[in-house]
């Protein structure tokens, strides 16, 4: 489904601030795989997502999605098949527009032809989808998204990303800004959605426990490289402690990221 070969990206080349953000990434994802991505700050996780999403062009290498070379494709065109979610809950929605209108815009790429963006046929569909979130938002379809709480907004963003049935879903710490209970809820909604539609997914998280519990594969990044990649039986037997050991062995340095250690 997703194929990355020798992907490299250097920021500020030739200056003292030169940073090799992606240093020869090789990654192959099968359809329906759900990969959790871990690694300390600055390891290149978000840069990797930005490279796949098309926020910038890579220096060298090839990115293929579902057999199509998307390396030089424009960002908004890639978005036709790639859904993205960020930590910042404001990023995924238009705050001055209603829930309905936001969903209608997200649905534009896959909706049938219609004159009005919010029409009778789609309205019912949107209401059903929102109802399934179980947040009581189905009766507030004409509320401006800016008036919702962070968790509610993130749930709507998730719906917007999934509504167009993307081939790939990129979740960049999308529950990190939420309180634990809400984060749990949004995570559960995420899981349900991914399982139901069999969407190939990559999720960045700093919660190692969650990284091992969710999905069926885990990769760890360090200094712009994937330093290890586990799935199947090996992953089932993995514990947080063993993972830490692996990390230290692979990167030959202590975990400097407190957030990773202190989480649970």
């Amino acid at each position: 489904m997703l194929e990355l070969r020798e992907v490299r990206k250097t920021f500020y080349p030739g200056t003292p601030n030169e940073k090799k953000a992606l240093n020869g990434i090789e990654l192959h994802l099968d359809a329906g795989e759900f990969v959790t991505v871990i690694g300390s700050n600055g390891a290149g996780k978000s840069t990797l997502f930005n490279a796949i999403g098309g926020a910038f062009l890579i220096d060298s290498g090839v990115i293929q999605l579902d057999g199509r070379n998307i390396t030089s494709m424009k960002e908004y065109k890639r978005a036709f098949d790639i859904g993205r979610l960020f930590q910042d809950t404001m990023k995924g929605t238009a705050p001055n527009m209603t829930i309905e209108e936001n969903l209608a815009l997200a649905y534009t790429r896959k909706a049938g032809r219609s004159f009005f963006a919010v029409n009778k046929r789609d309205k019912e569909y949107f209401r059903d989808l929102v109802k399934k979130l179980g947040l009581g938002l189905e009766d507030r379809m004409r509320t401006k998204v800016g008036q919702l709480s962070g968790g509610q907004r993130q749930a709507v963003s998730l719906l917007m990303a999934a509504i167009a049935q993307p081939k790939l879903l990129l979740l960049d710490e999308h529950t990190a800004a939420l309180d634990p209970a809400t984060a749990e809820k949004v995570l559960r909604i995420t899981e349900d959605m991914i399982q139901k539609d069999k969407i190939t997914t990559m999720m960045i998280t700093h919660d190692i426990q969650a990284a091992l519990r969710l999905g069926n594969r885990t990769v760890m990044m360090d200094e712009g490289r994937i330093i290890f990649d586990i799935s199947g039986k090996e992953r089932e037997e993995m514990t947080v402690e063993k993972l830490m050991e692996c990390y230290e062995k692979n990167s030959r340095k202590k975990l400097e990221n407190d957030r990773m250690l202190l989480h649970r």
């Binding site: 815009l105 790429r109 909706a111 219609s114 004159f115 963006a117």
Partner: protein, 302 residues
């Protein structure tokens, strides 16, 4: 009805389309578009030259198209050449000054008083008094404009343009071409502005190369007055309140001129002051709040 009120309606609706254009660029697209001064003059020039040549109705369609084109130029500079929105607008506005003079053949003043205007045609068909006609025709243009825009901004393309002004990243993430949305919005806004210039031009039967100067502020004042009175609501309400704001602005100016509050050349300063006052309201409010809190804290300490 008093002449003062009638002339306010004439001008209020005439500049109503200008307010609609400003509402589209400043409020919906959320970009400070300074093309306006140039595109207003552009509409005026096109309209007067074609009216003088005997095509009053066609001239308004041409003004509309010319305005859209001017908006496209600014849009191109903003999205493809990546020039800062304010500078992009200023550049187009500057260029248009020359373009407008080219349209009039280098003359900075053109009169079409001898030719038949859309107002004259309407007058002859209906037999209504000329003063009223000059209010009714612009009103009809505003009404049709509001209806058409209100419908358009509910369509898929229209919703995408609104979202572009609200959160551009989200529009791109939804696989919609945000640059195209911006371009369309700017074209639409400037088309309205140029049409306004065309109507005002025909109602006065002349073109003056400096007439468009300061139209951004006039339009913005109208939009803000409308919002202050009717509140900030949806797009359709926004369009109506922009035109209403334009009429109220003209009534206010007419009254102030009548009691000789300021000379007729004080118009631009007054417009600027209105905009400044309206824009400063939130800052004043928070300052008052700060003072009150400080006072409360002080009295508690004593």
């Amino acid at each position: 009805m008093s002449l003062l009120f009638i002339s306010s309606l004439q001008e209020g609706f005439g500049y109503g389309l200008l307010a609609l254009g400003i509402y589209i660029t400043f409020r919906i697209l959320n970009t400070p578009d300074l093309t306006t001064d140039g595109s207003f003059g552009l509409g005026m020039a096109v309209s007067i030259v074609l009216t003088a040549a005997g095509h009053p109705v066609l001239s308004l369609a041409a003004a509309l198209a010319a305005g859209a084109l001017a908006g496209c130029v600014t849009g191109f500079l903003q999205t493809k050449v990546k020039i800062h929105p304010i500078l992009a607008g200023i550049l187009t506005m500057n260029g248009l000054y020359t373009v407008n003079l080219m349209i009039t053949g280098g003359k900075s003043n053109v009169s079409s008083a001898a030719a038949i205007s859309v107002f004259r045609i309407f007058e002859e068909k209906t037999g209504i008094m000329p003063e009223y006609v000059k209010a009714i025709v612009p009103f009809m243009f505003c009404a049709v404009g509001i209806a058409a825009l209100a419908v358009f901004f509910k369509t898929r393309k229209g919703v995408a343009i609104r979202a572009t002004g609200d959160n551009e990243d989200m529009v791109r993430a939804s696989s919609v071409n945000a640059d195209a949305c911006k371009l369309t919005g700017l074209a639409l806004g400037n088309a309205c502005v140029a049409l306004s210039g065309g109507i005002i031009g025909q109602s006065m039967s002349f073109f003056d190369v400096g007439y468009g100067t300061g139209m951004v502020v006039v339009g913005l004042a109208s939009v803000i007055i409308g919002e202050t009175i009717f509140g900030r609501r949806g797009v359709t309400a926004g369009f109506i309140s922009a035109v209403a704001g334009s009429v109220i602005y003209r009534i206010f100016i007419a009254l102030a001129l009548k009691v000789e509050l300021f000379p007729s050349y004080g118009l631009k300063l007054i417009s600027a002051v209105i905009v400044v006052i309206a824009l400063s309201l939130p800052a004043v409010k928070s300052w008052v709040q700060l003072r009150q809190t400080q006072k409360r804290e002080r009295s508690r300490r004593c």
